[in-house]
């Protein structure tokens, strides 16, 4: 376990980051010009890291599989970005954000990293506003905030329901400025297929040009993996279709440890599945829980009647509704953290109270918010005794101003008007807290290979709070990695350009070519999607919102068998030397079929319930998660050792010096 040195600096928590920045080695500006860095992925973390590294003077190459860096899936984040600005004067502070995040993560994240995250969060807002990111503002011209799940303050900055888009376009703009200066070379429609190690250090990648099919070699002095999360393992998720684990998994297979793979976030408010043909799930922002109330019918017969279309939700009397979150968690109500809200929805639906055809949906109801806002508006506009209809109209306008684009999206997909009838929602896979293990400098266990954003395991522990992903991606990319990477690169100022004709590059390219050949030589019985859907079903049913040892063991076996079948019988049409979307998918699914098994293994070994990882065997009498701090207060980092089931466990013990580890309660 000696390998897992998290390199957290000594000293008081609040001074660690400043002290560390003062003590690490730097590269002087003239030498930065001689150093190349590869950044894989151009979302919030990759984009912001690339731009900042280029600003500092490094030569950066970015890679993304999309046709433009602007399309990375960070763009789909709706709700907002947290920052401890305390503009609302509601008692927020760096410490409180740090505390909320640790608690929200169910005491499974690294204290020093989270504190640093909270500390730089305020810089993010300053930086983004300077870049021209149009955050929502109040009438006075100052920045507006809203509230998200799991916290008691308003610290979320937002741009309507498109915060991720605006932040990503900010990072993309910063990248564009550096591309124009010649400091970033952007490779779009390129996919990293392998990491190249020279003398044990990350020195480059093998990438495939997705348009021509060419296999390319790219060298650098350091490689940053910012390729996002692996939720597409579940087939159906709120991820984009192309999201994959390839870069991270290839890195893992080259020696980087993979931490906490089983920590998955299942987001409570997504549009329910409508049929077998479904390719993706759509999220409804958590911000909706500010005003929406979640409920199911109190009586089973009402739920049945609703499912069969005999009863409309609006016809159900108030006393026949079960606002189960408000009932179970009076302190936080509808704004409990995501893992809690998701599990509660599953519990109700499993008990037979689900409200759509398949019984896998609950209501998110805006009726009381509409009426409340409507009355408020009527009062402030001096109306005397307005009737219900007027109040409703006024209220609908206000709700539209707040959530209009989300409501419109819902209506387009479901074909129901959410102003008139409650939305139907159900949890869906949304984010993965696990990822490549990194130290305080964001370096993986491979020297010179870094991981940022969702691709690392970092800051969210076993559950991520809303509006924290954007914060972490940008913190890593703008404010952490560009500085910590200098500590490593300071040894490379005399190295000179890394040649790509070394035996190591030859071998890596050869492996990649062999793999493609193998993928295309399957017997051709089933399509890639067939396997992906099967894998998704296993994951969702046996490694999903609640897990147990028996099913996890089954899952491991089933995934291994499916993987074998895949390699023998998959059908990939077309040729490798041209645009070939099926081949792209095949490579990604092949990796998921390995990761899935490790995921189940990790979930199986963690004999406790924490955050997004809920083991049925470990729960309180009331059905709440039961953590085991004595035995599992550690990061599980897996070392690749051939088959996923043989992966070797390394532990990083989590120490909490500044926070008291408590049972998480939102009651």
């Amino acid at each position: 376990m000696g390998i897992l040195n998290s390199k957290v600096p000594s000293g008081p928590l609040a001074d660690k980051w400043t002290k560390h920045k003062n003590e690490i080695d730097l590269v002087n500006p003239a030498n930065k010009r001689n150093i190349d860095i590869i950044v894989v992925g151009t979302g919030l973390a990759g984009g912001s890291a690339a731009a900042t590294l280029a600003e500092l003077g490094y030569n950066v190459k970015t890679f993304c599989y999309q046709d433009s860096p602007r399309r990375a899936h960070s763009i789909a984040a709706q709700g907002g970005v947290n920052a401890a600005k305390n503009y609302q004067g509601d008692g927020d502070s760096v410490y409180r954000l740090f505390y909320d995040t640790i608690k929200g993560g169910d005491y499974r994240s690294r204290e020093a990293n989270v504190y640093r995250l909270a500390e730089v969060s305020t810089n993010i807002i300053d930086q983004c506003v300077a870049q021209g990111v149009p955050f929502a503002r109040e009438y006075g011209g100052l920045l507006d905030n809203r509230s998200f799940g799991g916290v008691l303050v308003s610290r979320t900055f937002y741009a309507k329901g498109q915060t991720g888009q605006q932040l990503l376009l900010g990072a993309y703009a910063a990248m564009n400025r550096q591309i124009q200066r010649g400091k970033i070379k952007s490779y779009t429609r390129h996919e990293m297929l392998d990491l190249v190690l020279v003398d044990g250090k990350a020195r480059g990648i093998i990438a495939r040009n997705l348009v021509t099919g060419e296999i390319e070699r790219h060298s650098a002095h350091a490689v940053v993996i910012a390729s996002g999360g692996y939720g597409n393992l579940f087939y159906l998720s709120t991820y984009c279709m192309g999201a994959n684990v390839m870069a991270a998994w290839r890195t893992h297979k080259k020696g980087a440890f993979f931490a906490n793979p089983c920590y998955t976030q299942i987001h409570p408010t997504c549009i329910p599945v409508s049929g077998d043909h479904q390719s993706k799930l759509t999220l409804m922002s958590e911000s909706l829980r500010n005003d929406g109330r979640i409920w199911v019918p109190k009586k089973l017969e009402d739920a049945q009647a609703i499912r069969e279309g005999r009863l409309k939700p609006t016809e159900l009397a108030e006393e026949d509704r079960d606002y189960y979150l408000e009932r179970r968690y009076p302190a936080f109500g509808n704004l409990v953290p995501r893992d809690v809200a998701s599990r509660a929805a599953k519990e109700r639906c499993d008990a037979g109270f689900g409200v759509n055809k398949t019984g896998e949906a609950v209501y998110l109801d805006f009726d009381s918010a509409i009426m409340r806002y409507g009355r408020e508006k009527a009062m402030t506009s001096g109306m005397k005794d307005p009737d219900d209809k007027t109040i409703r109209e006024l209220g609908e306008k206000i709700v539209e101003a707040k959530y209009g684009n989300l409501f419109q999206m819902y209506e387009k997909i479901v074909d129901e008007n959410p102003y008139k009838t409650p939305m139907k929602i159900y949890p869906a896979v949304h984010y993965t807290m696990g990822g490549l293990w990194v130290d305080y400098n964001l370096q993986t266990t491979i020297p010179g290979c870094y991981a940022a954003g969702e691709a690392n395991f970092s800051d969210h522990g076993a559950n991520r709070l809303g509006a924290s992903a954007l914060m972490q991606g940008l913190a890593d990319g703008y404010f952490v990695l560009p500085y910590t990477i200098g500590d490593y690169l300071s040894d490379d100022i005399r190295t000179g350009p890394i040649p790509t004709d070394s035996p190591e590059f030859d071998a890596a390219e050869n492996d990649v070519r062999e793999r493609i050949k193998k993928l295309m030589s399957g017997s051709g019985i089933h399509t890639v999607d067939y396997y992906h859907k099967k894998l998704g079903k296993i994951m969702w049913n046996k490694c999903g919102m609640s897990r147990n040892a028996k099913e996890l063991e089954e899952a491991m076996e089933e995934i291994a068998a499916l993987r074998k079948d895949f390699w023998e019988n998959v059908k990939v049409p077309g040729t490798p030397d041209s645009k070939n979307q099926e081949l792209e998918k095949a490579g990604r699914v092949a990796d998921f079929l390995e990761l899935g098994e490790l995921f189940a293994k990790d979930a199986l070994h963690r004999n406790e319930s924490c955050g997004g990882h809920f083991r049925e065997e470990y729960q309180t009498e009331e059905g709440e998660a039961l953590r085991d701090d004595e035995n599992f207060k550690y990061v599980a980092a897996w070392e690749y050792a051939g088959e996923p089931k043989d992966a070797k466990l390394h532990k990083e013990d989590l120490e909490y010096e500044n926070i008291k580890v408590k049972t998480r309660s939102y009651k």
Binding site: Q66, D126, A173, K280, M409, K412, D415
Partner: protein, 248 residues
């Protein structure tokens, strides 16, 4: 429902393409348009044919990747959505659906329905940013209050997803709506004022270099824009450019 599809097939950028007819049965109303194409592709692969390649990613209308001309309209018949948000309930049993890639000289076809929209990236690179370093110490975010109206207008311009529907819809394949949205976003903010003149000139120059057509104010772009970006942005850019050029 049963559909008669006419789809543009083109092997690669150099090959000549053609429309190919497909009949697809068993399409359900609550499928999205792209899910309908997924089913077609599964069928084609099963039959040993090459699937139809089309660009798509987020499938929730925000990444701007999907780009299909459906029955002569970008993103299909519905308004304020992208093709991935279009659902089959907008069609009827027995319908013929013509599916083509965006057509513009500046957006060459890569394969089938996929086009190369990197021209948009280059327009952004020419000036679609505010020159501020991360490494610098910016002022506190609340130090510059911005009038809500300007902030909202700026946001509305910034919601452009760069899908290219404006170019595809325009009879002249003009990229004015796209370019003006970014120019407007920054022109409306105090942070963006400093470089405003240079920005608009550089971005327009790049836009022209890419071979997009001229704007003739037909307004088709605004109607087809999935994010409802307003023509006012084009007027604003015309004004910004004029004053930038007159000032020298």
């Amino acid at each position: 429902m049963k559909l008669y599809l006419k789809i543009w097939r083109q092997k690669d950028a150099k090959s000549k393409g053609a429309m190919v007819d497909y009949t697809l049965d068993g399409v359900e109303e609550d499928m999205s348009f792209l899910e309908m194409l997924d089913i077609l592709n599964e069928d084609l692969i099963a039959k040993g044919e090459e699937p139809v390649e089309f660009d798509h990613d987020c499938r929730e209308g925000i990444c701007g990747t999907c780009s299909l001309m459906i029955n002569g309209r970008p993103h299909g018949p519905d308004s304020l959505i992208t093709a991935c948000q279009l659902h089959m309930r907008s069609f009827n049993d027995g319908d013929e659906i013509v599916i083509e890639p965006w057509r513009a000289k500046a957006f060459p076809v890569i394969k089938d329905l996929i086009t190369d929209r990197s021209a948009f990236d280059r327009i952004q690179q020419a000036g679609g940013y505010i020159s501020v370093n991360t490494s610098g110490r910016p002022v506190d975010a609340n130090a510059i209050p911005i009038e809500k109206e300007h902030a909202d207008d700026s946001f509305n311009a910034a919601t452009c997803i760069g899908c290219g529907a404006c170019v595809a819809a325009c009879k002249n394949a003009s990229a004015m709506l796209f370019t003006s949205a970014k120019v407007s976003q920054f022109a409306l903010l105090p942070q963006g004022q400093v470089e405003a003149a240079e920005r608009v000139q550089n971005m327009v120059r790049q836009m022209d270099l890419e071979g997009f057509g001229n704007c003739t104010n037909t307004g088709a772009c605004e109607v087809e824009c999935p994010k409802g970006i307003s023509l006012e942005n084009i007027a604003r850019m015309n004004r910004e450019y004029l004053s930038a050029t007159l000032k020298g």
